[in-house]
Symmetry: D2
Subunit: 313 residues, 4 copies
């Protein structure tokens, strides 16, 4: 798998770093190319030039821009991976590697779902396979913005956004796990590091101890179990943990479940979990490239990606 | 009802304002009296001097200090109102005026429950009386600290505090509404204005429209219905609303329920509500004084308090 | 002085409260009037109807909208008070009551300067009159947004906005105090309550003790001196103080100077001060109405306004 | 240079990661060793066991704990590097590699100064050598806490901490640059990423253009120049930049100066700069080990450290 080029619209520090890291940089269009020229940045061409050289496109544009780009990709007959900011109709299917890798085979376009949906699918698929899920009620406490866009944030307030209950996250989970009954609510708070979810899962089978759940999650790839006893009192330490791991960009690819929050009350499973919004979909995109290109099984692809990204399990 | 005196431990701006407003100020003890003397503040005496002049004490000490003061009050045989920061065992009963006013009659001590518990009791009692409640699942997103103690706060993180599920809030609701089945979770976020609750209430009776719930809440005292369409997009506007009302300290005494969040899904009621942590228990304390002193019915006391505090309904 | 009517563009909770407080509410234009009608809010007319009934307009529109409204006012020959969000060219003069009240006499339009400029003018005028100012260097740490618009905020970051040094605040001070040498810098931080200024003032005359400065500020209207020893450790307690004062909207009209920060080092005066961005220009607007209408001296107007707003000094 | 062992007091995730990274982990003392045993963590011994094996100790204990440890080190005659949280008297000298590397030669203990002091020394030494400094006035806007300790933070407020002007940072700079005239003020704000400094530097020599300053800083090691035009609008993007660089823990070792803030007004230089509080002293500690051990010149050590840490200049 080779990275042929990177496309940027404007000559900011990220574009400059892409070049200094040795990537071939392309401008989005001729307008954008001029901007780079004005900054004395020599790009390798425009998006259209790059497309001729690639087999698969990963469109990581801001929300809804992927929909605009779609025609360009279709005209050239390119295989495309879209992101969760796009509507599910943009692609032939929605994707979480450990849930439905095989569905991507033979498709020309798939959509890696959003960070929150990815996290939910990973854990709910595992719990459903092992214990049977009757109904999920999930409360999503969203970080308002990312650390590199602090100006999109809020201060000293909770935003009831979206005000509609249920939120769109439940139906989005159903694009990957169609038979799951799930109702979600979502709000926004003044943080930049990780979304926090509270899950209430009504189980079909009798589960009497938290240990049964822990054992199952311990066997599930891309989920880690953390404990407040180890110092994980807040999402802050979880963000710090990813930094200590020494990964590129301090990325937390795994869904992190608080082991000591897991509780069974009357056949209902309660727990807290953290979703690293910047990173959780990164391994999914790499798997999606393999899944849409063919040649590897689900297990092979996940194992390769995990090894590359230093995901231990 | 006369305010005989106010007790403070240290000569900060609040103590100075108490004097400038014309209240008689007392030091907590002789140690504390010296502190005031060092600041050239002439107090009217110590707590023990004040106690001789009063019929009822409202102990608004920080959490757990009420327990220390308890002996002093008992030795003098004074009637006492404690706050929700104390354990429920401190008093002969826990109190929310519109739920159990009559229980306070003939008691020597009662405890006004915490802000979150007060808010939950107000709405849950009303819903239970009108539609029957099978089970409540409540998620409490707590403001980390108050505006006058910003140094107790957190930054850019969610604290899973307490990590134990269920949190103590459910059992605390049961000190007022003993027969209600309720499971609560609670976390802390970097805000100072209002707690936000997500409620999921399994109803006994069939309720088919949000309007039925709205009509009931509209008839319930100390609950207001707000809408994102009127500009209430965040808890920030809710705090601002209390300021616009022109009340003392910009206090929001009412529980505020987002009308456009109310949703019935399969006999389960979902909604968001905001709890003004600094103010919601203020009317309860005034009613508690009347309830423990006798002479007024529940309706009379609530009406008088509402009128005094400019609570319209 | 009578308030004839209030103009709003949309039917939010502020518009509704204006009506419930008994004010006559007007829509900005016919478009806006329809919005109110859709919400079943009966307005008393449009802006143009209101203008016929008034002598003076206080234009408190968002920044730069005043410039658009200007023609309407001019066509009708109305006297107008603009706010500091507008360019200084919009009016015949810029205004801070205790600095240049008399300049407004006979004018048809004046501009009350912004919160930061108002605060700076109050203290700098006083210091200059009493000790002579050689040069002011001011660092303005701006709250990013107001509590009722938390969505315009930033999270966990300092914004170097504006990046240009000096910032526009210095020249704006010069619209009121033309002969003052002042250089300002300004940044934005994740708070909603009060701007904080660090002042470094090179004095012409020898001042040897902080007490000389304190005595002067104590005699200056609309400036209060606070101390960390009284519990003012942060701007949070300062905001709380305004609430404890029991004023409408918990408004802090006074510039608040930290007494224990005042320090003289080699003929340079250092200090910290807090500017309540929502309220500090309120008394200025009231005085501006009198100043432009005539009939009162500076001292009379300031005394009347202070009494009305419960400003003790 | 070999890392012989790491000492931790409690078995949190950082201790566990130290082991999983292959470091030999030691408990601080016997009490601490028990804590590790209770968590089934096998440590390699206690601090005293480790000390026998090392030539130089880097004491990175929390503030003031280094002072407690000092006797242990002295009894064993070990060379020690202390951190800026300790008083300057703890060691035989204070240290910033590019300012006074040679001073550490032959010493048994030196103190790497705090993050803010390190940043100030780097730039002020360079400016002073090239243009001559008459006087520095620096305003330090401190991040309230680190991302891994969000609970020590503040919310929606500026803390005037310390209230005393000048702050202790000026004298601390003088422990490294004894002849510099510097007056500092410092406050705390609700952020976790980077301190922000506003510098006002009165220059001895005539400097007429910002370019002269930029050229000098461009030649100074461990200082980078950034621009808002490249997307550095806030400290948030600066933190993100360090992540994009792909460094361990996303560390920003360099002092970052906003190029487009640099301004000369009447022989005074104004600028904004960001100090990565978690990382800026890391290269200093590595150099300090070499400086106290001997065998390398200043230039050799800085070049080696820069290469190891991927500091380009």
């Amino acid at each position: 798998m080779d990275l042929i080029g990177v496309v940027k619209t404007k000559p900011d520090y990220k574009a400059k770093l892409a070049i200094s890291k040795g990537f071939d940089l392309y401008a989005a269009d001729s307008e954008s190319k001029k901007k780079f020229a004005n900054y004395n940045i020599q790009v390798s061409g425009e998006l259209k030039n790059l497309l001729n050289k690639v087999d698969v496109v990963v469109d990581a544009s801001p929300s809804k821009i992927g929909a605009t780009n779609r025609k360009i990709y279709q005209n050239l007959g390119k295989k495309v991976i879209y992101q969760g900011g796009e509507s599910s109709e943009i692609a032939e299917g929605s994707f979480v590697a450990q849930c439905n890798y095989e569905k991507a085979e033979g498709k020309r376009s798939i959509r890696v779902v959003s960070c929150n949906t990815t996290g939910l699918c990973r854990i709910l698929n595992s719990i459903d396979m092992n214990f049977g899920i009757e109904l999920v009620r999930a409360m999503i406490i969203r970080r308002a913005t990312d650390p590199d866009e602090p100006g999109k944030g809020i201060i000293d307030a909770v935003s009831v956004d979206p005000i509609q209950i249920p939120s769109h996250h439940g139906p989005d989970v159903n694009t990957v796990l169609p038979n799951l009954r799930i109702i979600t609510t979502a709000i926004k708070i003044p943080t930049t590091h990780l979304h926090l979810h509270t899950l209430i899962i009504s189980l079909k089978n009798d589960v009497t101890t938290a240990k049964q759940i822990i054992d199952t999650l311990n066997k599930t790839t891309r989920i880690i179990l953390i404990s407040s006893k180890d110092g994980f009192k807040t999402t802050g330490q979880l963000f710090d943990y990813a930094r200590e791991l020494g990964r590129w960009r301090s990325d937390l690819y795994e869904l992190a479940v608080w082991k000591d929050s897991i509780k069974i009350i009357d056949k209902e499973l309660y727990l807290y979990m953290g979703v690293g919004q910047e990173a959780i979909a990164v391994p999914e995109n790499i798997d999606a490239i393999r899944a849409i290109s063919g040649g590897y099984t689900r297990e092979e692809s996940i194992r390769m990606t995990n090894m590359t990204l230093n995901i231990s399990r």
